[in-house]
């Protein structure tokens, strides 16, 4: 029997507003390297994926992150099957 790769439990990433525009998509499923265990590590890894990602995620003060629909800090853990959303500061109301 073949080994199950972690790819089968991917992480779901969501991008909103300006980030969606810069990255060019609203969502994607990814399978980050095993070493990526925190929001901060994930942001740094994503920023290396291309200029759109880099532009969106460059300024940490302007990057809000929600894991499973809760606001979290850079040291919050992330793992397979998490829904991780990236967006600029909110402007509703």
């Amino acid at each position: 029997m073949a080994l199950r790769r972690p790819y089968l439990q991917p992480m779901k990433l969501l991008y909103f507003a300006l980030f969606r525009a810069r990255i060019g998509r609203g969502e994607e499923e990814i399978d980050p390297p095993a070493g990526i265990r925190t929001v901060g590590a994930l942001v740094d890894w994503l920023a290396e994926r291309g200029p759109g990602y880099r532009a969106a995620l460059a300024d940490p003060r302007l990057v809000k992150v929600a894991v499973n629909q809760e606001y979290v800090d850079r040291d919050h853990p992330v793992g397979p099957r998490d829904e991780v959303a990236f967006f600029p500061p909110v402007t509703g109301g």
Binding site: L14, F16, A17, L18, A21, A66, Q69, Y71, A85, F87, P88, P89, V90, T91, G92, G93
Partner: protein, 148 residues
């Protein structure tokens, strides 16, 4: 109660529904946010409100629950629209009712202040010079900080 909807709302109907047949409400406070034609020097032709489906409802419900923990409210309502809006259109409605005016007024202000910084909405403005995402205002963070 919270509602997230594309369609318009009627502040008068919501206020009337909240007070109808009740004799335990001494004060009701309401706030209506609307799309302005001018944002500082920029003219706005339209605005599109994007949100994070699922999380938006969750955060609105949390914000309302927090207001009801802090103040003795007889009733509360938050209605927030999303989608494309034009100048003069209503965006958001907050209504709170309490036995006393202080609780109604303070909780209404609290709800709109928190909503502005906690609820995942983003505004894309369209004007004569193209479209641009509205940037968050530091004053909104300051307004929220009052309530810590």
């Amino acid at each position: 109660m919270i509602r997230l909807q594309r369609e318009d709302f009627d502040p008068g109907a919501e206020i009337a529904a909240m007070t109808a047949g009740r004799t335990d409400i001494g004060g009701l406070a309401a706030f209506v946010g609307l799309v302005r034609e001018m944002a500082g020097e920029r003219r706005i032709d339209a605005m599109t409100l994007e949100h994070y489906p699922g999380m938006t409802e969750k955060k609105l419900a949390e914000i309302e629950a927090e207001a009801r923990r802090r103040w003795p409210l007889q009733a509360s309502l938050v209605v927030h629209r999303y989608g494309r809006l034009e100048p003069g259109d209503r965006i958001v409605l907050v209504v709170t009712a309490s036995a006393h005016r202080e609780a109604a007024l303070a909780s209404c202000q609290f709800l709109i202040d928190w909503l502005k910084t906690e609820a995942p909405f983003w505004k894309l403005e369209e004007g004569p010079e193209g479209a641009g995402w509205v940037e968050a205002r530091a004053s909104d963070e300051d307004a929220k900080r009052r309530w810590r």
